[in-house]
């Protein structure tokens, strides 16, 4: 049922989960997708082997609030900064960009300096990721 005061209605958080580059591991991203769904979010999953251009076009068409990039190959250092650059160029640089997977600490620091909000390495509890997104959502 719709409400007569729609501006007070809580909006549903929309998240894009994508895998960049050539890695074909899907278990991690599937687990995260389910956790976000169980937390009441709408998760757009766009599949494997995405290019930065595909991720950005998808993020725009889907008007997601959060872009989560899973990387289990070394492609993140090339592709992630490109995603951020393209989002800014399209005038939608206000999305929360997070990354997860096998990302060495020093790479993580570099990525954060380039605009990735947080990097969740292997072994992170899914609840931590959910809370991180919810906290960001509450303060924006």
């Amino acid at each position: 049922m719709s409400s007569s005061s729609p501006s007070n209605r809580p909006r549903t958080i929309r998240v894009l989960l994508a895998k960049l580059g050539l890695d074909a591991h899907t278990i991690g991203v599937t687990v995260i997708a389910k956790s976000l769904r169980d937390a009441g979010m709408e998760v757009v999953y766009s599949g494997l082997k995405q290019t930065p251009e595909m991720v950005v076009a998808t993020a725009i068409q889907e008007d997601v609030d959060v872009v989560g990039i899973s990387s289990l190959s070394a492609a993140h250092m090339n592709h992630l900064p490109r995603v951020i650059e393209l989002l800014k160029a399209e005038g939608v640089g206000d999305k929360l960009i997070i990354a997860g997977g096998v990302i060495p600490k020093e790479d993580g620091e570099t990525l954060k300096a380039q605009g990735v909000a947080e990097v969740f390495t292997m072994g992170t509890e899914t609840a931590t990721i959910v809370r991180y997104i919810e906290d960001w959502w509450a303060t924006r």
Partner: protein
């Protein structure tokens, strides 16, 4: 009256169109204001519903149809619907996985949408999203429903052309006849037609079509496809175009558009009426009396509802 967001949509600005759809989906006034400005620019696109049971290959077929229509220089909008979890309110929207190759094509706009509690195979905002994409100049808008059972055919109320996707080996003639889905179709697709049982399924469907065909102006067609391999997709594409030609050369496009408008109007009226009525009733003292009486089983829910309605009118 001008609307800045709507002007950007009309100029083809994709982020603005996505934002309007989002606001409409969230039931936000900003979205409705933009829709008011966009609505007069809509009404041109052929809206094509693609429905069928889970696993029938709807997403793959939509993907192949996009390719085929892009080759014919058509701009294609897609609204792909997946179910919302009734437990968490969240959803995993995975239809895009099979449509990846179109992600960076500016002639294609794909929006995944969760049902958010709406029954019937659609999302509430699917109707609004077609208006936005139509006003933006997309020639065709494909609505892919959630995987449906037998009577979830709301897509026919939005679509000019309804495509029902079937599979071999999923039911006998009786199963097919009782299904409302069968009556909904303008075009049937027998997908995965390389599977065992395809010939039997085709003859069953053909018989059904033949039985029902008499009083219809449009001769409903059955197309065999193997979407995964692209087989039969050109024929399906031709059939969709043929249906569009039929619609526009008869008065069917006008009459279906009128039925669509009536449906949209009454849906919004129903929401508004319900919202206003519930609002009023929740604030009335009578509610507590009636609720108490129904709980104590002194009054039944029909009589109770009538009393509340009367109280609202006074």
């Amino acid at each position: 009256m001008g609307n800045a967001l709507a002007d950007k949509v009309l100029a083809g600005h994709v982020p603005s169109a996505a934002r309007v759809i989002r606001r409409l989906e969230d039931g936000d006034a900003e979205g409705r204001d933009a829709l008011t400005a966009l609505y007069p620019h809509s009404g041109k696109a052929q809206i094509i519903g693609v429905t069928g049971p889970p696993g029938a290959g709807k997403s793959t077929l939509v993907d192949r149809l996009i390719t085929a229509f892009r080759k014919r220089d058509k701009r294609v909008g897609v609204i792909a619907i997946d179910p919302t979890s009734p437990f968490s309110g969240g959803a995993i929207l995975g239809d895009r996985v099979r449509m990846q190759s179109h992600a960076a094509d500016s002639g294609v706009f794909i929006r995944s949408m969760a049902t958010r509690g709406q029954l019937g195979g659609l999302a509430r905002a699917a109707d609004d999203a077609t208006v936005v994409l139509d006003a933006m100049g997309f020639d065709l808008i494909l609505i892919e429903t959630v995987g449906v059972g037998q009577d979830e055919v709301d897509v026919i109320k939005l679509a000019h052309t309804t495509v029902v996707v079937c599979l071999p080996g999923t039911g006998d003639e009786v199963q097919a006849i009782k299904a409302g889905v069968m009556e909904a179709a303008d075009l049937f697709v027998l997908n995965k037609a390389d599977l065992p049982g395809a010939d039997e399924a085709e003859s069953h469907l053909a018989t059904l079509l033949h039985l029902e065909m008499n009083d219809r102006e449009w001769e409903r067609r059955l197309v065999r496809t193997v979407a995964e391999k692209g087989e039969g997709v050109a024929e399906l594409c031709d059939a969709v175009v043929a249906h569009d030609v039929y619609l526009r050369t008869s008065d069917a496009f006008t009459s279906r558009s009128a039925a669509r408008a009536r449906h949209s109007l009454f849906e919004r009226l129903r929401e508004l009426a319900l919202e206003r009525a519930i609002d009023g009733i929740e604030r009335s003292e009578e509610l507590q009396h009636v609720l108490g009486a129904v709980t104590r089983r002194e009054t039944d829910p029909y009589v109770g509802a009538a009393r509340l309605w009367q109280a609202l009118k006074n």
